[in-house]
Amino acid sequence: MPELGKYAGAVLSSWAVSVGLLVFLVVVTWIGARRSRAALDAAEARRRERQ
C-alpha cells in the first residue's frame, strides 16, 4: 500500500467509486448478455420445433 498522506481520503474514495462503477458496468453487461443468450436460445428452439 503506497503512502498517500493527507490526500488518502480523496484518492481512495475516487478509486473506489471508479472501480465500483466499472465493475457494475461489467457485471450488468455480462448478466444482460447471459440472459439474452438464454432467452434467444429458448426462442430459437421453439421456432425450430415448429418447423
Partner: protein
C-alpha cells in the same frame, strides 16, 4: 384513375403482416376488407394512405387522390361544424363546404360545437370531411365502431352516394354494413410467421443463418 395494388407486403414493427396482396379499386367500386383481429387491415390501410412505407411490392394510383379516416375523425370538439369543415377544406385547397354540409344533412347543425353532436352526427361530420378533401378514394378503418343500427344505415347511405358520384371506398370492418360490395378477405395473404419475407434484411439473414446451422 384506378388504385392498383400488386404483390404488396405490408409490415408492422419490421415484421411482415400481409404478403403478396393484390387487388384493384376502380371508381364506382366498394371493397370491404375482412379479416380477424390483428390480421393487418389497419396496417394495410395506413400503408395505402402513405403513412408508412410498404415493405415490398407496388401501389399505383394518381397522386393525392386518397382520403384516409381512422375511427378518430380529426374533429375538434371546441370548434363548430362549419369551423371544423372549413379548416379541412382550407388544408386541401378546396373552398366549398356548403355542398358537403347539405350532402351529409348537417346544414341545420352548422353552428353547433362538435362536442355537442351525437355519435351519429359526428360520424356524418367525419364523412363530410372526406367530401371536402375532394379526393375520390376513401380508405375507412372500422368506421362503424359503437354506432347503433340506425346510424350504420345512415353511414352506408352516405358511402353509397359518394360511390354513385364516381368515388370509390375501401372499408375495413367486422360487421355487415348491408351495402353492395366486393369482399376482400385478407386472410389468405397472412404472412407465414415462419417464412420471413421482404427486404427487412435483419430477420431473413438470421433465419437463414440459424436454419443453415441446423441442416
Amino acid at each position: 384513375m384506378e388504385l392498383v395494388v400488386r404483390n404488396l407486403t405490408v409490415a408492422r414493427g419490421g415484421v411482415p403482416v400481409l404478403v403478396g396482396l393484390g387487388f384493384r379499386l376502380a371508381p364506382g367500386g366498394v371493397v370491404m376488407l375482412r379479416g380477424p383481429n390483428g390480421s393487418g387491415k389497419t396496417t394495410l390501410l395506413r400503408t395505402l394512405a402513405g403513412l408508412q412505407p410498404p415493405m415490398d411490392g407496388e401501389i399505383s394510383l394518381p397522386p393525392e387522390t386518397i382520403a384516409y379516416a381512422a375511427h378518430a375523425d380529426g374533429l375538434k370538439s371546441q370548434l363548430t361544424v362549419t369551423e371544423n369543415l372549413a379548416f379541412w377544406a382550407a388544408v386541401h385547397g378546396t373552398r366549398d363546404i356548403e355542398a358537403a354540409l347539405v350532402a351529409m344533412n348537417l346544414a341545420s347543425l352548422r353552428d353547433r360545437p362538435a362536442a355537442n353532436l351525437s355519435a351519429g352526427q359526428k360520424r356524418r361530420l367525419g364523412l363530410a370531411r372526406l367530401l371536402v378533401t375532394g379526393r375520390p378514394f376513401w380508405l375507412l378503418d372500422e368506421p362503424t365502431v359503437s354506432l347503433d343500427t340506425a346510424s350504420v344505415a345512415l353511414f352506408a347511405e352516405a358511402v353509397g352516394a359518394h360511390v354513385a358520384g364516381g368515388g370509390a371506398a375501401l372499408i375495413a370492418t367486422h360487421i355487415d354494413l348491408g351495402m353492395e360490395a366486393e369482399v376482400f378477405d385478407v386472410g389468405p395473404f397472412k404472412a407465414d410467421p415462419d417464412t420471413p419475407a421482404g427486404s427487412g434484411a435483419f430477420d431473413r439473414d438470421f433465419d437463414a443463418a440459424f436454419d443453415g446451422a441446423i441442416q
